[in-house]
């Protein structure tokens, strides 16, 4: 019997493309953020409020993934920024090759910020690096405060937790402190922002977080 050591990642092909994308984003000083959540947590609403808040000259674009329909792209295109729908036709996550393909017709030199809205799913998108600077996990208070414990891979890999729909707190039995605590158990030191896309509460903190990321990105570009 012969043993052939491999010692490499199962998804090495995806990771290779993701590393190339990360290299390109970095060379152009683009902040790429990968938004993940379960279906209906409010990724598209958060992006709507974000694009709405941006000045017309903001160099931002969105890739939005879904299994079917271009509903999200239609919702997001209203703000006048470049938006492209990736329809996976059944696949439960986006992979790096889909991003590479979707970006082919865009000039990266025209962008500072790229949002990728992943397929609504708290499991599979955790395994696929898309070349992003950070994953952002959106959790709505209509779900349950134990989600970080049930889906640790996703919360572990995300840099920021956005707790959405806080306007619903009086109507649901969601324990905000417990949710924060659960996120910290899975991902010690995880940053958290509480927002409502309906009332706009917390959106300034979210925009500030983005500003900080963009500033760090352009500092890095200047340093190279």
């Amino acid at each position: 019997m012969n043993r052939v050591p491999l010692e490499r990642k199962v998804l090495s092909e995806n990771d290779r493309i993701a590393a190339e994308l990360r290299e390109r984003f970095s060379a152009h000083g683009i902040l790429c953020l990968n938004l993940v959540s379960s279906p209906g947590a409010g990724k598209t609403s958060l992006l709507e409020r974000t694009l709405e808040a941006f000045p017309r000259e903001q160099r931002v674009a969105v890739l939005t993934g879904d299994i079917q329909t271009d509903n999200d792209a239609v919702r997001l295109a209203r703000f006048g920024f470049p938006v492209r729908q990736i329809t996976t036709g059944g696949t439960c996550h986006l992979d790096a090759r889909m991003i590479e393909k979707a970006l082919a017709e865009w000039r990266l030199e025209d962008l500072d910020l790229l949002f990728i809205e992943n397929v609504g799913n708290l499991v599979c998108p955790a395994s696929y690096d898309l070349g992003e600077a950070a994953k952002i996990v959106v959790l709505s208070v209509a779900e349950g405060e134990d989600k970080p414990l049930k889906y640790p891979a996703m919360f572990f890999r995300s840099a920021l937790l956005v707790l959405n729909k806080i306007d619903l707190l009086p109507h649901v039995s969601f324990d905000l402190a417990k949710a924060r605590q659960n996120a910290q158990r899975v991902h010690p030191g995880m940053a958290t922002i509480e927002i409502s896309c309906v009332t706009g509460e917390g959106l300034p903190q979210w925009l500030q977080w983005l500003e900080k990321g963009l500033a760090a990105c352009s500092r890095n570009l200047a340093a190279t």
Partner: protein
């Protein structure tokens, strides 16, 4: 349910290695899956079996090594398994420990025999 795609990637990688060794026959593939990999080992096995069924590789064994989440303690230097999200060092009680492993999704090795 992305384990099907992952099983395909495992088979692709194994196929590439076996092609380099035409005088050998593949008997086993060993994959390492961490608790934080976001991959269900049972689902991965199910998908693998479905893919090799009624092929030349039907007899190939897929062995999945499960890896727990691990943390390292900066105070006493010990590495320990994290059980039920308890990241406090079981040896010295330090609470500020750091992640040291458990998100693996790796092809560890293949076993082949002479034809």
């Amino acid at each position: 349910m992305h384990e099907f795609g992952i099983a395909c990637s495992v088979l692709d990688a194994a196929r590439a290695e076996v092609r380099l060794r035409p005088e050998m026959k593949l008997t086993k593939i060993v994959v390492r899956v961490g608790a934080l990999a976001g991959v269900d080992p049972d689902a991965l096995d199910f998908c693998f079996q479905a893919l090799v069924k009624e092929t030349d590789w039907e007899a190939v064994v897929l062995e999945i090594e499960r890896r727990a989440q691990r943390h390292g303690c900066p105070r006493c230097g010990r590495e320990f398994e994290v059980i039920q999200y308890n990241t406090t060092c079981p040896v010295c009680g330090e609470s500020e420990t750091t992640f040291s492993g458990g998100n693996e999704l790796e092809l560890a090795y293949l076993e082949l025999e002479e034809l």
